[in-house]
């Protein structure tokens, strides 16, 4: 298997990526406001990682989404698709104006991503826990076809409650699927509250190691650090790799950043609920999901 090390991330390129991520966050908010519904916390929290993928990490061609040697990016927690659509639009897979059609009838931008609706999506997702398995199938096909592309799969952290996730994790560990790299959006929240209150996930690193995976951690908002983690993952041959990416849900949204801190002293239940509601509805301007 060929390792490929990504092109070096120079200062100017890094600054450019950071700017694109900011733009992405703005576009996410505009898109959601236009749609009137949709998920906000995850997309905003993952803007840096998606920017890093579409503008640095992925070997891909927006004008040729079927290019057989492309890297595959699988989104398992499909509900954060607004950020994916935004990054894809920025990259040229679709016109920026089309973002205004999110969740509307006859749109290619379905509320949860549908593979056949928009070239470049790779899979259909929404119901949680189904992305890793698909990513495994795609990674296995790469080996069968003697292809060098990487298959990346992004999952949520609450999503790890689903049992079928662990079926896939076991399988990947057993079969040492080294061309598979998983990224967990570790933002500590799920619908009913903190992950560690609803269904504790820690010790997460230990769990994955027990299943035969190599584990890396990264600040999900530090693009340079994240790219380093990807490079390290590329160099691991004996196992699949998971990058636990720590993110702040709603990152970059002023009123969130000002009112509410997710690291350090945790907010109490009341504060948490209020802030989450505010975030989920963008301060009452869109319909809350799952109310």
């Amino acid at each position: 298997m060929i390792i490929y090390v990504l092109e070096e991330l120079h200062e100017d390129k890094l600054k450019d990526l950071e700017k694109k991520a900011e733009q992405a966050r703005e576009l996410v908010i505009k898109t959601l406001l236009e749609a009137g519904s949709g998920h906000s916390a995850g997309p905003l929290g993952m803007a840096d990682i998606f920017t890093a993928f579409y503008f640095h990490i992925l070997k891909h061609d927006p004008k040729n989404p079927e290019w057989e040697d492309r890297d595959r990016l699988i989104l398992s927690n499909g509900h954060i698709c607004p950020i994916r659509y935004v990054s894809m639009a920025q990259a040229g897979y679709l016109p920026i104006e089309e973002l205004q059609t999110l969740r509307k009838i006859n749109s290619r931008l379905q509320g949860h991503p549908h593979r056949t609706a928009l070239p470049g999506l790779e899979t259909t997702s929404g119901p949680l826990g189904e992305g890793i398995g698909q990513a495994i199938g795609i990674a296995l096909a790469a080996k069968l076809d003697k292809k060098d592309y990487y298959t990346y799969v992004i999952t949520g952290d609450g999503e790890l409650d689903e049992g079928n996730i662990w079926e896939s994790v076991m399988f990947a560990g057993k079969n040492k699927i080294n061309n598979l790299i998983m990224i967990i959006d570790r933002n500590n929240i799920q619908i009913d509250g903190f992950t560690e209150d609803v269904m504790p996930l820690e010790p997460l690193q230990t769990k994955f190691e027990a299943f035969g995976w190599h584990v890396l951690e990264s600040d999900g908002h530090n693009i340079k650090q994240f790219v380093d983690a990807i490079n390290q993952a590329h160099a691991i041959f004996e196992k699949p790799t998971v990058i636990i990416a720590h993110t702040i849900p709603g990152y970059g949204v002023d009123f969130m950043e000002k009112d509410f801190h997710w690291h350090g002293k945790p907010p109490n239940k009341e504060e948490a609920k209020k802030a989450l509601d505010e975030l989920r509805t963008l301060k009452g301007q869109i319909e809350s999901e799952h109310k």
């Binding site: 549908h114 593979r115 056949t116 790779e122 899979t123 259909t124 997702s125 929404g126 119901p127 826990g129 189904e130 992305g131 890793i132 398995g133 698909q134 990513a135 495994i136 199938g137 795609i138 990674a139 296995l140 096909a141 790469a142 069968l144 076809d145 049992g163 079928n164 079926e167 896939s168 076991m170 399988f171």
Partner: protein
């Protein structure tokens, strides 16, 4: 009489008629597919030999994937392989696949339009001693309701091999229903098989009733027809090997001549092949119809013969249904 054009097994009614399990047809069909098409891959959830996928697994180990007892994972991996241009066969007991992994298949195979073929084994109460938890009796209902789904239920091991091979002629999901025990060979290698086309296996000039049967139960329907003939009561018997897409023309044609139907399947009467036919008739030419199958109940452990008799699905029950439907004409 047996339809001479279909080259059926002339020894069908012998006491020592040749038998084979339809899952054997899957095993040989899958192996053949592996030989002719390098894109065919197969997965099993710890039931490789029981579902007869082992022949493929032994010959093509690099194209066979073991998911362990994880049917949802098996489904999503298959979807991923299919998304990458493979034709992915998944094989398990029908209660687990498409049972346990129903939503996973819905999202990642059916809605996703991924080329996944679902082999559901141990279908029907004829699964026997394992009992109701392992007897798939709602699997036709939960798959035929999927948009654009194909559902094939072969009547014997020979037809099972043909159906397995035919399943790759479309690029979208197919559900293939197989059974565990040996059942009589009704067809021969020379019997034509066409997806989506009914065939009348027992023909008469003036049938009072048309019996539509699917799967191995076709044998019981044919036995009933033969016995009824000796009682001077003419019926036709039709093999419904493709439940979806339903051969609507074929059904209307087969029904026109008798104006009364009995449907026969090893499945709940609610939602199975009988329901599919009733839906069509209700839209076009409503007429009396009797449903043989499980009547709103699960079965239990037992031998196939005991169970089919206890649950009102044997030759005697079929004949009674024929007489009942005639009274309703």
């Amino acid at each position: 009489m047996l339809n001479p054009n279909l080259k059926l097994n002339e020894k069908l009614f012998d006491a020592d008629v040749e038998t084979a399990p339809t899952r054997a047809g899957f095993g040989t069909g899958l192996l053949e597919l592996g030989e002719i098409n390098p894109n065919v891959v197969a997965l099993s959830a710890d039931l490789t030999e029981s579902t007869q996928a082992h022949k493929f697994a032994e010959k093509f180990p690099e194209r066979f994937f073991q998911s362990g007892i994880g049917e949802q994972n098996m489904a999503t991996i298959a979807a991923g392989l299919a998304e990458s241009g493979k034709i992915a066969f998944i094989s398990s007991y029908a209660t687990f696949s498409p049972g346990k992994n129903w939503e996973t298949l819905r999202t990642t195979a059916v809605y996703n339009e991924a080329n996944v073929k679902i082999a559901g084994h141990h279908s029907g109460i004829m699964t026997g001693p394992d009992g109701a938890t392992h007897q798939a009796t709602e699997d036709i209902a939960i798959t035929r309701c999927w948009p654009k789904m194909h559902v094939y239920v072969p009547c014997d091991a020979i037809e099972a091999r043909k159906a397995t091979i035919a399943s790759i002629h479309i690029n979208t999901p197919v559900y293939l229903r197989y059974t565990r025990d040996k059942t009589p060979l009704i067809t021969t290698e020379n019997t034509p098989f066409k997806v989506g086309k009914l065939q009348t296996f027992w023909v008469n000039e003036n049938p009072k009733v048309t019996i539509f049967a699917t799967g191995y139960m076709l044998y019981y329907a044919l036995l009933a027809a033969k016995e009824l003939e000796e009682e001077k009561l003419q019926v036709n018997v039709v093999n419904v090997a493709t439940i979806k897409p339903l051969d609507e023309e074929g059904i209307l044609e087969a029904t026109r001549i008798s104006q009364a139907d009995v449907t026969v399947e090893d499945h709940q009467v609610e939602g199975g092949m009988g329901s599919a036919i009733a839906e069509l008739l209700a839209k076009t030419t409503p007429l009396p119809i009797e449903f043989i199958g499980l009547q709103n109940t699960f079965a239990e452990s037992g031998t196939p013969t005991e169970l089919i008799e206890k649950y009102g699905m044997d030759t005697k029950a079929i004949k009674q249904a024929v007489k009942r439907v005639i009274r309703r004409k």
